[in-house]
Point group: C2
Chain length 145, copies 2
Amino acid sequence: MAISSRFIVGVHILTLLAQSQGQPVTSEWIAGSANTNPAVVRKLLGMLAKAGLTTSQLGAGGGALLARSAADITLLDVYRAVDGSELFALHHEPPNPACPVGRNIQSALLETLTRAQRALESELASQTIATVLGSVLAGPCPQPT
Amino acid sequence: MAISSRFIVGVHILTLLAQSQGQPVTSEWIAGSANTNPAVVRKLLGMLAKAGLTTSQLGAGGGALLARSAADITLLDVYRAVDGSELFALHHEPPNPACPVGRNIQSALLETLTRAQRALESELASQTIATVLGSVLAGPCPQPT
DNA sequence: CAGTGTGTATCTAGTATAGTTACACACTGG
DNA sequence: CCAGTGTGTAACTATACTAGATACACACTG
């Protein structure tokens, strides 16, 4: 369990907003669909808004909205917005520079780890909220009516 | 920091064993190079041994050894040995099946997440302990002598 | 101007990591 | 044969992160 559930819940939220077609969606409604707490949803919406993916309409009849087209939001955008730390941890304490292996191991691995992370990110970049919504609506038992 | 430091320390350990050319290496010596605690090293060695990557020689003059050639141990083997959980977490509580999005979001994302994880793993599979050792020894200030 | 819903703060519980100490036991080497 | 070495493992600690939960001020709508 390396990448927190914030990622999938973030995608869930944005997919709901995409489905709502410009109607503001309340955090309480989102929480009902994701089966979590409204405050958790609001925390995630804060991160998504800071990343420029959503906006909020305050006051009565308010709620969350997509800040841009669902086709312009990739899963990589979501990943970076809610989970954007380095994928691979290094040694807690820097290794012993007096040892040839300790001195060079981190830089020797850097390129490989960067490539691995980039490979993962490029897969995430290939999907958008629009394609996810398409898959969701094509699923079993689509919207009643 | 999604993938724990166990991974890079595991690679560090195996690289040291590869460098030692069949001489057993004690956990204390490894801990000195990785700048950590011998018990932590022994815990990692236990995981690596269970995965068939290392063996141990008990008793005086004992220590850890590679169980097979350094060229036959990929970084993916190490990753799986010490960190082998699912990369992406799902919702803590399953989403609401009464909502079209909640009902289908997980299966809609499954293929993409699997592809992303596989892309990362395939990068890790492309490097072996032997190639890492090569990079380490080619680094600045190689072995004195 | 009343009411709604966000944004934020705070607290909790649960879990994972990594460090540390301690000790029984298997094995080596003389 | 036996003293000593080093592993394997357990128990405990500190730290950090996640996610759930409650509470409340404030902006905004209608």
